[in-house]
């Protein structure tokens, strides 16, 4: 929209400053039409699948609406309900914070570690790279069910071998203290995306800098600290910020793990509520599902959706920052 208005304004103000020859004006109009034509699929998509539903979400957040009877204006009641009476909100926020701190940190540390390892491997590189990358490709539902089996008390091989080694055998997905660590393990297993990004960044570090550091007598740790890290730190930051955004949206693995471990599959209105066991796997996106599709409380679901939106956009703006933004849109 803005671009169409912009070019029309340019065409309208230009004649007062300098007479624009009609040929040039026609050319400009043709270029604007061409730009609009190329952008049109996305402009429609932006309106229908982003702008309209976002405004509608804001509207419904002030309405009482169960999907059947007509919506009624309720002021801020949905907002106060979510913050004070919805029993899972703060718990879900705490879980999300836990996941952001532990899961993102471990993923970045291990991703960097595996990336470094790959750059040092001399024999069997193809095999190792594929082995490290493969779990990233496993569809999340399939991977979660596989981990639910591996960690399953009694029949799961991981549980079995922990017992043989005399280590504790927690209930993992069935134990509120261990469900988030189990999900973290699943996330670290699927680290292939970060490995590839870090590998590319590490191979871009100029070798002369390593040689110079070695001549100065720098050991391996000092070479990493003073040569490698400063060179790849933008990519590390990128991985952290996108990791935080992804973790804010953590949904599929958490809800599937809860349903598989509890043995109850929840459809709309059925008994399973996310968060199993004992609320330990609640995350914000699951609350939108729970409120909107299981409790038919459209208004409160929209409140949580808007909170999710605000948090996501706050972190996205870090990526877009002009100077250090990794996705800075300046040329």
């Amino acid at each position: 929209m803005a671009l169409a208005l912009g070019s029309r304004k340019a065409a309208a103000t230009a004649p007062t400053a300098l007479p624009v020859p009609p040929a040039l004006r026609r050319k400009r109009r043709r270029e604007a039409a061409r730009t609009l034509a190329f952008l049109s699929p996305w402009l429609i998509g932006f309106g229908v699948f982003f702008a309209y539903p976002l405004l509608s979400t804001v509207y419904f957040s002030f309405m009482k609406y169960d999907g059947f009877r007509p919506p009624v204006f309720t002021g801020l009641r949905n907002w106060t309900y979510v913050f004070t009476d919805y029993p899972f909100f703060w718990e879900g926020l705490r879980n999300t914070l836990w996941l952001v701190v532990v899961m993102v940190t471990l993923r970045v540390v291990f991703g960097l570690g595996i990336g470094l390892l790959v750059t040092k491997i001399r024999s069997g590189l193809g095999f190792f790279r594929t082995a490290f990358y493969l779990p990233y490709l496993a569809p999340p539902v399939a991977a979660t069910i596989a981990f639910a089996f591996l960690l399953n008390p009694g029949t799961g091989p991981v549980d079995h071998y922990l017992g043989k080694l005399g280590l504790p055998q927690p209930g993992w997905f069935n134990d509120p203290n261990w469900s988030k660590p189990a999900l973290t393990m699943l996330a670290v297993w699927g680290i292939g995306d970060l490995m590839v990004i870090f590998m590319a960044a590490l191979l871009d570090v100029p070798t002369e800098q390593y040689e110079a550091a070695e001549l100065d007598g720098a050991g391996p740790w000092q070479r990493f600290r003073y040569v490698t890290f400063p060179n790849i730190s933008p990519i590390v930051m990128f991985a952290v910020v996108t990791g935080v955004i992804q973790t804010m949206q953590y949904y599929t693995q958490a809800i599937v793990a809860g349903q598989v471990a509890s043995g109850i599959i929840g459809g709309s209105g059925e008994q399973f509520e996310p968060g199993y066991p004992n609320g330990s796997t609640w995350t914000l996106p699951q609350m939108v599902y729970n409120l909107g599709f299981q409790r038919f409380d459209t208004g409160s679901a929209c409140v949580v959706a808007l909170i999710l939106f605000a948090i996501s956009m706050a972190f996205t703006s870090l990526l877009l920052r002009r100077k250090s933004g990794f996705m800075s849109v300046e040329d």
């Binding site: 803005a2 671009l3 912009g6 340019a10 270029e31 604007a32 061409r34 190329f38 952008l39 699929p41 996305w42 998509g45 229908v48 699948f49 982003f50 539903p53 976002l54 509608s56 979400t57 390892l117 491997i121 024999s123 069997g124 190792f128 594929t130 082995a131 779990p135 490709l137 496993a138 569809p139 399939a142 991977a143 069910i145 596989a146 089996f149 591996l150 399953n152 029949t155 091989p157 297993w189 995306d193 590839v196 990004i197 960044a201 990128f238 955004i245 949206q249 949904y251 599929t252 349903q259 598989v260 043995g263 599959i265 909107g292 959706a305 808007l306 939106f309 996501s312 996705m327 849109v329």
Partner: protein, 287 residues
């Protein structure tokens, strides 16, 4: 003199050998961590019903029939067909609708271009749950299309933010001179894009097509919201979970089904490894 040199060389060689051993030992341990889950899942998938309930590692009898049983479970074929339709149509529509947008954002100069790009990136980072309530009402109450695959497929015809962003990043690396040369040869914008730019952008197009195919194949939230009310419209991701609850003690059948869902993605990866890795690298490139 030569003695000192050769002993220094020997020390260096010994250190290199030690490093080789250390690096490759760590690599083997890491490979075990990444691959053992697949091995366990596979070995359990060929156990008998009774053995699958134990914590045995190695199958006594190789029950290959488990795969046939999983495959013949009511609904499994329908889920496969639906997933292929969703992923196939979704990928094709996404690529066709995103290419012109990415090209305009990379090459055309117009007011509001940076704003449009920022909007693309914001949409890329937007969780689907933010807009799901109005979207569900739209598909269910206005168009009466929930319980079908249409609410999953139709939005793909209007460009996907991630695809647009990635393609734009790649198109920026193609020198402008090619476009100018094409214009001098009398090519219009559409011809330039189709005949000059697209052939050069083949690896990037392949990468985004793969990503989109995987996204659709793996999507759980979309099918859960829009098509779950009708079992005839379930996809593999959604159906697999109900498979687990229907066979809740038969871990062998569930593991066979799980591997059948993973297999196409892994096979596709081996065929298109290069395009895939290039695509992932592109996501981390500075804009």
């Amino acid at each position: 003199m030569t003695d000192i040199l050769s002993s220094a060389a020997r020390v260096a060689r010994r250190r290199a050998a030690l490093q080789w051993v250390a690096v490759h030992s760590v690599a083997v341990v890491a490979a075990l961590f990444f691959l053992l889950p697949f091995v366990f899942v596979f070995l359990t998938s060929v156990m008998t019903d009774r053995q699958a309930l134990t914590s045995d590692f190695w199958p006594q009898h190789w029950e290959w029939g488990n795969y046939a049983k999983a495959w013949e479970t009511p609904g499994f074929l329908t889920w496969w067909r639906n997933t292929l339709v969703y992923a196939g149509a979704g990928t094709a529509l996404t690529v066709v609708s995103s290419v012109p947008v990415a090209y305009a954002l990379a090459r055309f100069r117009f007011r509001g271009r940076n704003l449009a790009l920022m909007a693309v990136i914001s949409m890329m980072m937007l969780p689907p749950q933010v807009t799901v309530i109005p979207m569900y009402l739209f598909w269910a109450k206005q168009l009466h299309l929930t319980g079908t695959l249409w609410p999953l497929i139709i939005p793909m015809a209007f460009g996907d933010a991630f695809t647009i962003f990635l393609l734009r990043q790649f198109l920026l690396t193609i020198p402008k001179e090619y476009v100018e040369a094409a214009r001098i040869d009398g090519c219009g914008d559409v011809r330039t894009l189709l005949r000059v730019i697209l052939p050069m952008a083949k690896p990037a197009v392949a990468a985004v097509a793969l990503f989109q195919f995987f996204y659709c194949w793996n999507d759980y939230f979309g099918p859960q919201i829009y098509s779950s009310e009708n079992p005839g419209a379930w996809t593999l991701s959604y159906g697999l979970e109900s498979f687990k609850s229907a066979h809740h003690t038969n871990w062998n059948l569930t593991m066979a089904a799980t591997l059948l869902v993973m297999a196409p993605v892994i096979v596709l990866f081996f065929f298109a490894q290069k395009a895939f890795i290039e695509g992932v690298t592109l996501t981390g490139v500075k804009g």
